[in-house]
Symmetry: C2
Subunit: 352 residues, 2 copies
DNA sequence: ACGGCGTACTGTATCGATCCAGAGAGGTTC
DNA sequence: GAACCTCTCTGGATCGATACAGTACGCCGT
């Protein structure tokens, strides 16, 4: 039988409330009685107020749930994800709040969300149609996400970037360099293994961020007169260098290879660079490549990419959850992005 | 005012218990009443039993705490950590249990541990003297760690490897190749920035794994007649490629450079390889390098290393926590390691 | 007709804490 | 000396659920 507040109270000869105060409101009792209580607690093996009981009474779980459907091993191999998580962790530090990882399969029914003892949710990545969205809404807890969903009101918490704007700029950079034969690589644009998805249009993509990025490129290329049907789009099964390389293989092993490849993450883009060098092709000279995120490795690889403030994004998400501003304008934060031009993009050279 | 079981019970005209059963024990009531209850619940906006209240009554928090003192950004940049976490996540999947990240500064007093609503702790990495150990013990919850501590009884839960045995084998491999001038790189062997720690002996190291690995190398080199004082030991501030490269700089920028470098993680070792190539030195030919973990990148870099089953380690940790075997022999699991010899280790060439 | 039994639902006690109104002692003010 | 405070501690109500013993009722067999 584990000791409780009452056990300690009986041992000291005071009331339960006083023992509680010894832990939670030290100013409510004399210092020496408090010391006697803490000593006795240690003696009887009482480790302090039970977190669960305290949560129930206080109406505060002391944790925020982090949701993502990508499988865990891949979720954290991406430095972007790690940086985001770092920002989130920084924001809850000292707020006596923990992070509860709520990993989910794409086929889950949202029970994990219903059963999570948390004060709010941070949706890291989850497709639009996922049942957990409903479960979250039913909970009525604050949610912050990087996605804008059609059903969201203007009071929804949002921390993100203008994905479409970012890729539009990147796309224009390419078209200005003369690129017309381009390919796009993104993870989970469609279900299934890594493969070209010829029919993909932005609306069919299940993840908000990818959909927007696709739209941005779409618009930029259309501006330059490129026919959407001429653009090869490849969906990968996961977000990893290997998948990026596999996707690139589809492109470079065919006769009429693109002069430029854009990827929806630096991780994928680095895989593309690997595939290039493996074939004796030079990034930038033979094929231009653009990534997304600007992770540290991107600079090392001289990869042109879109920089987004990952750590800050995580940190602001945490702040918004822990202390949602009353003012609607403060509830939606759009962070700036920058196109970082490095050596991996150069003017297109047409071989004909 | 959020709806509770009672709200729904009143709306349907049944007792609170019956509504509870509708969620938790469907076999206890007729299917159509259950359906009526669930419908009403949705109508009044009841999202299901409150996780905190349920936890209190059931005596089960539904989460296990993951403890580490490394700062979060570095904790997950190491593929080994990610793989471990993956195994852990797999083991709790479908067990209606989540993972609560409990990051801690080295100067924390263990309050995070005291306040965590969990059913057990998995200590990922924490120095021996950390106050949280006491807090964990006070909680009286099951703990699984990869460390054997002097105070642990034989019933403590342990999943790990024989670190000393592994590095002893690696050390012998080097000495058999004729290496006598060697250097050791490990993270957090001592507090502070990346620097040589001339006085380091195994006993002074705060982390169990590092201490054991140091001891293994120590023994292997002594067997071969190498004087401990001749071995340069470098402690890095974090576990990263950059730190590995920085540490290597201390070694290669001096006249009498070592013929072999061993690192306590592949991440560090890869940094050493970077430093080598940056100086025009060839791994294996000019300087032999050994890592630890056998992460995927190690194979790509042809790095000789010690393979340990990271995913399995995490998975077994989870199993042990969720369902601790009564039998003491099943409570301590030592997994095998393998020395994987690749191109980064070759016979020593003495320049004299 | 009656005991026995299974099904469907109810009611109370309980998990372990915190909140808050209030009691009692002792001191200060006018 | 009555009124008023402050300081310290107490006791009961409460958070929202689950466990379990118990009740009501229909059905079966003899």
């Amino acid at each position: 039988m584990r000791p409780t507040l009452q056990t300690v109270a009986d041992a000291v000869g005071v009331s339960r409330s006083t023992v509680s105060n010894a832990y939670s409101r030290p100013d409510q009792l004399s210092p020496d009685l408090r010391q006697r209580i803490l000593d006795t607690a240690r003696r009887v093996g009482y480790a302090g107020p039970d977190p669960t009981a305290r949560s129930l009474r206080r109406g505060r779980a002391g944790a925020i749930g982090v949701l993502f459907t990508a499988s865990l091993p891949y979720a954290f191999t991406d430095p972007y994800a790690v940086q985001f998580l770092r920002g989130l962790a920084e924001s809850v530090r000292g707020q006596d709040t923990g992070l509860l990882l709520v990993p989910q399969g794409v086929d889950d029914t949202g029970t994990a969300v219903s059963n999570a003892a948390v004060d709010g949710f941070c949706v890291f990545c989850m497709p639009d149609w996922h049942p957990s969205w409903d479960a979250i809404e039913a909970r009525g807890l604050p949610v912050v996400s990087a996605q804008r969903r059609p059903t969201d009101g203007t009071d929804a918490l949002f921390v993100g970037i203008d994905d479409a704007d970012a890729t539009r700029a990147a796309g224009r950079h390419l078209t200005q360099l003369g690129h017309r034969r381009v390919a796009i690589i993104g993870d989970h644009l469609a279900a299934g293994p890594t493969r070209p998805v010829t029919t993909a249009t932005p609306d069919e993509v299940a993840y908000y961020g990818s959909r927007e990025r696709l739209r941005g490129y779409y618009e930029a290329f259309r501006e330059a007169g490129v026919d959407w049907a001429d653009i090869t789009t490849i969906s990968t099964d996961v977000n990893s260098k290997e998948s990026g390389a596999t996707a690139a293989a589809y492109l470079f092993d065919q006769a009429d290879r693109p002069t430029a490849v854009v990827a929806f993450s630096d991780i994928l883009a680095l895989g593309v660079l690997d595939a290039l060098t493996a074939r004796g092709l030079r990034p930038g000279h033979d094929v231009s490549v653009i990534g997304f995120d600007d992770i540290p490795e991107a600079a090392q690889a001289s990869l042109t990419t879109v920089r987004q403030p990952a750590v800050q994004r995580g940190r602001l998400s945490g702040h918004l959850l822990l202390d949602p501003p009353k003012d609607p304008t403060g509830r939606q934060i759009v962070l700036p992005t920058d196109l970082i031009v490095r050596d991996s993009t150069r003017p297109a050279v047409t071989k004909e």
